[in-house]
Symmetry: C2
Subunit: 331 residues, 2 copies
DNA sequence: TGCTAATATACAAACGTTCGCATTAATCGC
DNA sequence: GCGATTAATGCGAACGTTTGTATATTAGCA
């Protein structure tokens, strides 16, 4: 492995000059710089990033902490972040928490030890407050939160327009002529779900409909609980559900199909996340789409540009069969 | 940031002893070790991994290079690898190539500069041979290949049982009573696709059917080309297709649905990869499933255990509506 | 008591960079 | 032609750890 010292010896100069030359410092002569670069190429020099990082006390690694790498939403966020960070010369170190607070703390400490340039995080469901975050990471590493954020932590935040989106989705159901619209809400420990519920409520109330707590199904996020919630919703006389997740919506559709209830004629469903299966299933599912790739890009840019504000990424309603009562089905 | 030197000063001993104590070396007295550990806890000591890595000339980072992080298959492999490596105290640095050979070379060089403990790679489509790999990575870093592998490179390889799987899938189509079964093959530059084609051929021939090159559709991997290939297959009198990918199969199904051809009564389809949408779409798609999470785990373990052999991960045929002519539809 | 062997710790050199400061060489103005 | 200024490079310490070798201490034994 050839080092700057080797290049320096070969050229009869010192490592410091070589270092400066390779860094493009104005403190070295153009001529020397060219000679150094030539020699470096000749000798197959590769900069030792670890040594540079140690000396500088900061690395060009950006840590990303997500609940689960293989969740479609998160892998797309990571893809978007890598896309921007790679361009800028950063590398990404991935940690997953599997929704565990303990794992999150461990990941934060590890990243601190790596002297990472920044941390991008979407916190675990088990992390119900932000106290452990600054303790584990310290305060000198920029923290960029996305999707699941703690509002009380300083620094950049990238969130979906959950309230707006849920409002639009619910309004769409109302406009389709559904009369009693319930909602499959998620966990109220997560701001994103709180906001979606707020958007739902706003839409219901601004249409002059009664907001009814008894048809709000909390803590429902997976297929199985969505199935059960739909059963209850039917008993309570609902004819549509806005679901704060696609998987709970999937469970609801499954229940309706089993019972032979027609979708969308007799019952309307809108999910959230626009997972790829929503467009392909039958009936295809209307879904409130997030833009995970763009969120990842925005998070990366927020770090690169030193932003500390909150960015809201719009959500987009994809109207498909499961809620499209009146119009011809869209593809 | 507190260092071992700080702990040493606080205890009136030297950094070397502290280092050894924390590493659990038998060269320090039990008593000293306990004192050091206590002090370290008290002072909130965190080991500086970067410094340790520099000194040791090897880091506890494992690099993973994939074409696209957000492709379902790869994000699952990464999830599986992280799962095993995290347990073993390694961290995962992710690079994506977007199928570009140039990006792959850059990623390999970067990982070499980080002195990574190992590299797990599934190469880009543009990388048609292995020459650049050893040049860029050097030969002292273990290289574990998965899914898309170069047989001529030494070291561990984790592959799906592509030939076996394609054989099973094609045999299934034959048993369902389809008479002229074509195949949507992928790129022959990639071994995985070559093997799938071989399995298809084997099944056709061992059933006494004629192997017909004219109904093998090469270089077809995305939805659009699958759509076109299916059109040709119909013209040529096929009544079934084994597709080496799920997306090309999706295109084929789309074409059949548009033309009003009944699935599976008039035409059978089996895809490959068992992407999550295959189970949810309509008609649900039969698919030859890989086990990406397990492949990731196997790749990680191959590194940890120092294996250099080739492991074959079985593939599993999920029979769903699109090929299930005779039996009642499975869920 | 003196010698050997063991145990426990200290010393110091690395790993490859970076960067403040010092030094040397060249240029300029008068 | 001399002092002052600028340009180019050299020197050396530092980043925090690990580890081979040396030293000091203790124990064992004759």
């Amino acid at each position: 492995m050839v080092s700057i010292t080797d290049i320096a010896h070969a050229l009869g100069i010192t490592p410091s000059t070589v270092s400066r030359a390779l860094a493009g410092s104005s403190r070295v002569k153009e001529e020397t710089r060219i000679a150094v670069e030539k020699k470096a190429r000749e000798m197959g020099y590769q900069r030792n990033i670890v040594a540079a990082n140690l000396r500088k006390g900061r690395s060009n690694i950006v840590g990303i902490i997500v609940p689960r790498i293989h969740r479609e939403f998160f892998s797309n966020v990571i893809g978007g972040a890598e896309n921007v960070l790679g361009e800028a010369g950063y590398n990404v170190l991935i940690c997953q928490t599997i929704e565990s607070k303990e794992a999150e703390i461990k990941a934060l400490k590890t990243l601190r030890n790596y002297n990472v340039a920044a941390v991008l995080i979407s916190h675990a469901i088990e992390s119900t407050n932000s106290a452990h975050i600054k303790d584990s990471l310290g305060s000198d590493i920029p923290l960029i939160q996305f999707d699941r954020v703690f509002p009380d932590l300083p620094g950049a935040k990238i969130v979906g327009a959950n309230c707006d989106g849920a409002f639009t989705a619910t309004k769409h159901l109302i406009e389709q002529g559904y009369r009693k619209i319930g909602t499959i809400a998620g966990y109220m420990s997560s701001l994103a779900y709180v906001e979606r519920l707020a958007g739902y409520k706003l839409a219901i109330e601004s249409a002059g409909l009664p907001y009814d707590e008894s048809i709000v199904y909390y803590d429902t996020i997976v297929k199985e609980t969505g199935y059960a919630a739909c059963e209850k919703a039917l008993e309570q006389g609902c004819d549509a559900l806005y679901c704060a997740g696609d998987f709970s919506a999937l469970g609801a559709i499954e229940y309706l199909k089993e019972k032979g209830i027609r979708i969308p004629e007799d019952f309307g469903i809108v999910g959230t996340a626009n997972e790829s299966f929503t467009a392909l299933m039958f009936p295809s599912m209307s879904s409130l789409g997030q833009h995970p790739f763009e969120m990842g890009q925005a998070a990366a840019k927020a770090f690169l540009e030193g932003r500390t504000d909150t960015q809201v990424i719009p959500m987009e309603l994809h109207i498909r069969q499961s809620s499209n009562k009146n119009n011809t089905w869209q593809k």
